[in-house]
């Protein structure tokens, strides 16, 4: 795992990050494959929407995928891809958890399309003209 060390902010851990938002987090553990990653959504105090998202690998394979994703996102930012760049997460920092790299990006607003399709008409937001 030392191969990831150059990505990591020295001394900063995921636990520090969680502490910095007062423990206001949601952890999602949906992945079952060998690239296993946990997603931690972080809500700073006083905000009702997440500001950061952390991808935490749970295996060495997952750690390599996270490092690759960080490299890819960094490359996209350098390329300057115009307005579409606003739809892509930006790297905030890389921290460490148990010696593995954790990718921290900004949280992008979005909506759950599948759930929206199942909501009743009264729950749906009116279409904007």
């Amino acid at each position: 795992m030392t191969e990831h060390a150059s990505f990591i902010v020295a001394g900063l851990t995921l636990a520090d990050l969680i502490d910095s938002v007062g423990g206001r987090v949601a952890g999602l553990a949906m992945s079952k494959d060998s690239n296993a990653k946990l997603t931690i959504i972080l809500f700073p105090p006083g905000q009702d929407r997440p500001v950061y998202v952390a991808k935490v690998p749970t295996t060495d394979v997952g750690a390599r995928r996270v490092a690759q994703e960080a490299a890819l996102l960094g490359d996209l930012e350098l390329r300057g891809i115009g307005p579409i760049g606003e739809t892509i997460p930006h790297i905030v920092t890389m921290v460490e958890h148990l010696g593995r790299p954790v990718l921290v990006t900004n949280a992008l607003p979005g909506r759950n399309m599948f759930a929206d399709g199942r909501r009743s008409r009264s729950d749906r937001e009116p279409l904007r003209s």
């Binding site: 007062g22 206001r24 987090v25 809500f43 009702d48 148990l98 759950n112 599948f114 759930a115």
Partner: protein
């Protein structure tokens, strides 16, 4: 009262890296019981107490002089959590509105049933009931450094 770590502790390892002692308090935990447990444990570090959210509110506040207290709810259960959310209303609301969804492939009837359950989770009480039913309420007690 029993002690022991969760079975699948990937999420817990990430969220509670400093926890060295798990206590299953079932329905309530008095501050004196907690102090006895802490004294009996030679392990340092923080403590996670498994208890329903409302029990946590009642008893864990007695222990706030020990350290800071944070409440979490795990779904569908503490032992096999898919989602662990801090019990702040805005966090729970965001998870139920924007994160949880009916899984692809659910049939029309089960899909509607699940969608209805997800709508219920917009309300804090539903989270509390789900946590109580599945044993998914966990209190993190940070011991002073």
């Amino acid at each position: 009262m029993r002690s022991g770590p969760p079975v699948e502790d990937g999420v817990w390892d990430v969220l509670f890296p400093t926890v060295s002692l798990w206590i299953n308090a079932r329905w309530s935990l008095r501050a004196r019981q907690l102090e006895r447990q802490l004294a009996a444990s030679l392990r340092r570090g923080d403590v996670a107490v498994v208890m329903p959210p409302w029990a946590a509110v009642r008893s864990a506040t007695d222990a706030t002089d020990l350290a800071s207290v944070r409440h979490y709810i795990a779904l569908p259960s503490r032992r096999r959590p898919k989602v662990v959310a801090s019990s702040h209303p805005e966090v729970l609301r965001y998870v139920s509105d924007k994160v949880l969804t009916v899984p692809p492939g659910a049939g029309p009837v089960s899909g509607l049933l699940l969608a209805g359950l997800l709508r219920l989770l917009r309300h804090r009480t539903a989270w509390d009931l789900a946590a109580a039913a599945s044993g998914g309420g966990v209190v993190l007690i940070r011991r002073p450094g």
